[in-house]
């Protein structure tokens, strides 16, 4: 029975564990509950992905109510892969969280913290798993509201304004999305994704559908922090507790990219989105501008977490760029980068969390001498940085490899050059930190030690994953290609 109902258990179990986490009241117990929820989600996601790869897409009707009336879940290669990304990061971040949040969050708030984190994960998993657009909105609100709370728990008071800024921008985004969904419902009378995909072409000629398209495009772009709608992101990432930054940076924007794929490829269809609405003409330039300007901004940051946050906006540019090609290789590169970027940014932000734990700051200036005093943490940062740059034998290289190939395939070699220039800018901002850590002597009386193992081991798991999936990328690239084929509706 459990096996048949896995799609809904993926969401329901963490959803029920979240209130348990607050009810047990003791921080240690809350942590155990939240960790159990993450491990459960991970196990289910891996099972679902392997099942989808072996037997094809899974349709699931909640409560046995058939599709137009009940809520349907549909899991294909695309969202099975995203489920794995979200739950993997959760399963790695939670064991790490305990030590880190003990230092960064007040003790009486810890049960609430773990509840919010579990809810945030639940929301992200829910958006991914569902086949119903209104359900997407509901889960989007669950994940967003808990994310606002999590960010507000950051140590200094800037976290409050950052959270407030994110709240305003995020709510505008969510409102736009629900308006888009409402307009589609008015025209088609359904909220089921498969039904929508069938009925939309019949009413596409109306003025309402392009308007819905526009609202959705802007709303989703806000959520995924596409340049120039990214303003909430650097503050939020920089001020949030380290654990939250590591989790949200690796998952929240990824799920937003997934929404982009789902709405514009599955529901509207690639033909309508790209041939009629010409979505690529807006996405591609914005993605290219994001890659260059945000990488440049990253170079000028003084706080390493902010630096990585700007880098994230640039990296989102890579994902959107891949998608904007609307070709198998391009979309696959985008999806692949979802996974790869989650691994690299997860590792990097977790290394920053280790620095925060010992040094109490992530200002670049405060990191002098850490190459000697925290060798494993900084080695993790260096390897994560290599991945961000796209050095061969890391996942970053695999992403670039497909992305450049996709650009060349369409004869757009200047786009390929921009992608590679983005890599070079990454060298500069990564090296900025490396030079301080390794070349500047540590201040005399600091007494800084290496981070605790409970934090180092999860960090290094992600670092090694960066290398593993960079050396043997058959699995990830294979899934990404199949997912791209599914989205574009082309043959296997």
């Amino acid at each position: 029975m459990i096996s048949e109902n896995l799609p809904v258990l993926q969401v329901v179990v963490p959803l029920l564990m979240a209130p348990v986490a607050v009810l047990v009241r003791r921080p240690r117990w809350s942590w155990l509950v939240a960790t159990a929820a993450a491990f459960w989600a991970f196990a289910v996601a891996v099972t679902l992905l392997s099942r989808v790869l072996a037997h094809g897409a899974i349709d699931y009707e909640i409560g046995g109510w058939p599709a137009p009336w009940g809520i349907a879940y549909r899991i294909d290669e695309v969202n099975a892969f995203v489920l794995v990304i979200v739950s993997t990061i959760a399963a790695v971040v939670l064991p790490y969280a305990k030590k880190s949040v003990e230092r960064e969050v007040e003790e009486d708030r810890l049960p609430l913290f773990y509840t919010a984190l579990t809810l945030c994960m639940t929301g992200l998993l829910g958006i991914t798993v569902t086949g119903d657009v209104f359900n997407v909105f509901v889960f989007l609100e669950i994940s967003s509201l808990s994310a606002y709370a999590l960010i507000a728990l950051g140590q200094d008071r800037r976290a409050l304004t950052a959270s407030y800024q994110y709240l305003i921008m995020g709510s505008i985004g969510a409102t736009f999305i629900v308006i888009g969904i409402g307009l589609m419902y008015v025209m088609t009378g359904t909220l089921n994704m498969a039904d929508l995909a069938q009925r939309l072409p019949g009413v596409a000629a109306s003025r309402t559908i392009p308007v819905a398209f526009g609202f959705l495009a802007v709303g989703i772009s806000l959520k995924l922090a596409l340049f120039p709608l990214h303003l909430w992101l650097p503050n939020a990432y920089a001020s949030a507790p380290s654990t939250v930054t590591a989790f949200i940076a690796s998952t929240a924007t990824k799920v937003a990219v997934y929404m982009l794929l789902r709405f514009f490829f599955t529901i509207f269809g690639a033909a309508f989105s790209f041939d009629v609405m010409h979505l690529d003409r807006i996405l591609m330039p914005l993605a290219l501008v994001a890659i260059i300007t945000m990488s440049l901004s990253a170079i000028y940051q003084r706080n390493a977490k902010r630096l990585l946050a700007y880098s994230s906006v640039a990296q989102i540019g890579y994902m959107v760029l891949g998608i904007s090609f609307a070709s198998v290789f391009g979309v696959a590169a985008g999806i692949l980068h979802l996974f790869n970027h989650a691994l690299m940014k997860g590792a990097l932000f977790m290394a920053m969390g280790c620095v925060m734990y010992r040094v109490g700051s992530t200002r670049v200036d405060a990191m002098s001498g850490l190459g000697r005093t925290m060798p494993f943490t900084m080695a993790a940062f260096v390897l994560g940085g290599f991945s961000l740059i796209g050095v061969p034998l890391t996942v970053g290289f695999i992403s670039k490899w497909y992305l450049v190939r996709a650009a060349l395939e369409q004869g757009m070699w200047p786009v390929a050059v921009v992608v590679l220039i983005g890599s070079l800018l990454a060298v500069i901002y990564v090296w900025k930190v490396v030079e301080v850590a390794y070349f500047r002597p540590a201040p005399e009386d600091h007494g800084i030690q290496e981070a605790p193992l409970a934090m180092l081991i999860p960090t290094w798991i992600l670092v090694l994953a960066n290398l593993w999936f960079g050396i043997d990328a058959k699995l990830t690239s294979g899934v990404a290609i199949r997912a791209a084929q599914t989205l574009l509706g082309v043959g296997r």
Binding site: G390, P392, E409, G478
Partner: protein, 488 residues
């Protein structure tokens, strides 16, 4: 064991050795013994491949399929073996030299030094035995990153700046040009494997392929073709053994080796000859040869002068690869070996002078020859090899390169080669002449009580100097390997 498995061992062995070095860090004698044992074992492994390869065996091995159609793979073929032989043999000698130098010069962080040195050698072996462009690129980048801690070994402000230039140029060229060219090749040819006769012929218009060749030549920044040569003089801030083995042999030769390999196994020499950009690139290489020689003249710092000499000599090999006729390829390949032995001797001598007399400027080396006769004698022999005069091995490679220019009907290029040889004659021989014959100026610092450098260093530089003469008498192994490359 099969050839390909031996190649895998050759890549893995230095890494294992490096880890042992790390583990033995507290006991300097054991640590250096470990490096010596590793380097000797590596050379024996590579040496054992020579017989089968001379008999015509070529063998490949796929380590892992990275993405469908692109593998991390090794292949043993004559050109790669030649490079691996040279690098692994000189690693032994350099290790001996380093023991004298690093202790005599009281360098810090020696364990880190020996560790990254070993890993760099592993990367060079990987590049030498790479079966496709992806593998070559991967090891190329690993080599850049592993040598960075060696270049910035002293950790000073000067080292940090030099490190920036080093990394900046090597990463910029490799990512912006070389990687673009590799992915483009993959897209055009559907494969990135090295194959006899090349993979690109007929896959695109000659204009596109010509552009691709330009991207490759400038993208392999380690070949130091102007204007992307500045990283090499910058790297001279490193301890001398690094300059000697890595920046006269392993790193720079990985660059020119890559260009030879791309010319022979990716384009195919028949295609290179007909591309519209080849004549331009030939003149870029020729200009590098002459300009670098002229700059070498202006350098009073010995290591800087040697660095510019290296830039000039590297372009000889690039020129050979672009002449794309059998003589050019043979000459280029042999020059990898001949230049390596000659130049490493010169660097060893420069380091010995630094350790024994604390001198780095040529103008202040007057009269040192009398107190350090072995060092400057070896410098003289090494210089002959670089200039291309008998009885040193460099004569052979320059001979074939000259034949290559004649076969291509490029008399102008031949003249450039001759002029450059004359220039190097002057700027290199100035050093031993000053050391042996010049009298110190009246109010100059007088060298007193100076002896030869520690004996391991002197032994090392005598070995390499003797080897340059030996290679004049017996160039056959390298010559035969190159004959196999061009299929004669």
């Amino acid at each position: 064991m099969s050839l390909a498995a031996l190649a895998a061992v050759a890549v893995a062995l230095p890494v294992v050795g490096g880890l042992v070095v790390l583990a033995l860090g507290k006991w300097p004698n054991a640590r250096e013994a470990a490096t010596l044992v590793t380097s000797t074992a590596l050379f024996l492994v590579v040496w054992s491949m020579l017989g089968p390869v001379r008999a015509g065996t070529v063998e490949g091995l796929t380590l892992v399929e990275v993405v469908p159609g692109v593998t991390l793979g090794l292949q043993v073929e004559p050109l790669g073996l030649l490079f691996a032989l040279v690098a692994s043999f000189l690693w032994i000698v350099t290790t001996v030299y380093s023991i004298g130098y690093m202790r005599g010069h009281h360098e810090k962080n020696q364990t880190r030094f020996y560790f990254f040195f070993a890993v760099s050698i592993a990367a060079a072996m990987g590049a030498a035995f790479s079966a496709n462009l992806f593998t070559l690129f991967a090891f190329y980048e690993v080599l850049t990153l592993c040598t960075f801690p060696l270049v910035t070994h002293h950790g000073t402000e000067e080292a940090r700046k030099a490190g920036r230039v080093y990394l900046g140029i090597l990463l910029t060229t490799s990512i912006a040009f070389q990687l673009l060219a590799i992915i483009w090749t993959w897209q055009l040819a559907g494969t990135v494997d090295f194959r006899v006769g090349g993979i690109l012929a007929g896959r695109a218009s000659r204009g596109v392929l010509g552009a691709l060749l330009v991207l490759f030549v400038f993208g392999v920044g380690k070949a130091a073709v102007m204007p992307f040569h500045r990283w090499l003089p910058a790297a001279m801030v490193a301890p001398t053994p690094v300059s000697a083995l890595l920046h006269a042999v392993a790193v720079v030769k990985t660059g020119v080796f890559a260009i030879l390999k791309i010319s022979v196994y990716v384009f195919g020499i028949d295609l290179v000859r007909t591309l519209p950009t080849t004549p331009w690139l030939l003149w870029v290489a020729a200009a590098t040869i002459i300009l670098a020689s002229l700059i070498a003249f202006t350098k009073d710092n010995l290591k800087a002068r040697l660095a510019y000499s290296t830039i000039s000599q590297l372009s000889y090999i690039v020129l050979g690869a672009l002449l794309a006729n059998p003589y050019g390829i043979i000459g280029g390949g042999m020059h990898i070996a001949m230049h390596a032995f000659g130049k490493i001797t010169l660097f060893f001598a420069a380091g010995a002078v630094l350790v024994a007399a604390h001198e780095t400027e040529i103008s202040s080396m007057h009269g040192l020859g009398r107190s350090m006769p072995f060092t400057f004698g070896a410098f003289f022999v090494g210089s002959l090899s670089i200039i291309g005069l008998p009885p040193a091995g460099g004569a052979w490679s320059k001979w074939f390169l000259g034949l290559g220019t004649l076969e291509a009907g490029q008399l102008g290029l031949l003249a450039m080669l001759m002029v450059s040889s004359l220039l190097s004659l002057v700027y290199l021989l100035e050093v031993p002449i000053r050391a042996f014959f010049s009298k110190p100026p009246p109010n100059a610092h007088v060298h007193e009580g100076i002896h030869e450098a520690p004996w391991p260093s002197v032994v090392a530089l005598l070995i390499t100097a003797a080897a340059t003469v030996g290679l004049f008498l017996h160039p056959e192994p390298f010559h035969e390997l190159m004959l196999l490359v061009v299929g004669r």
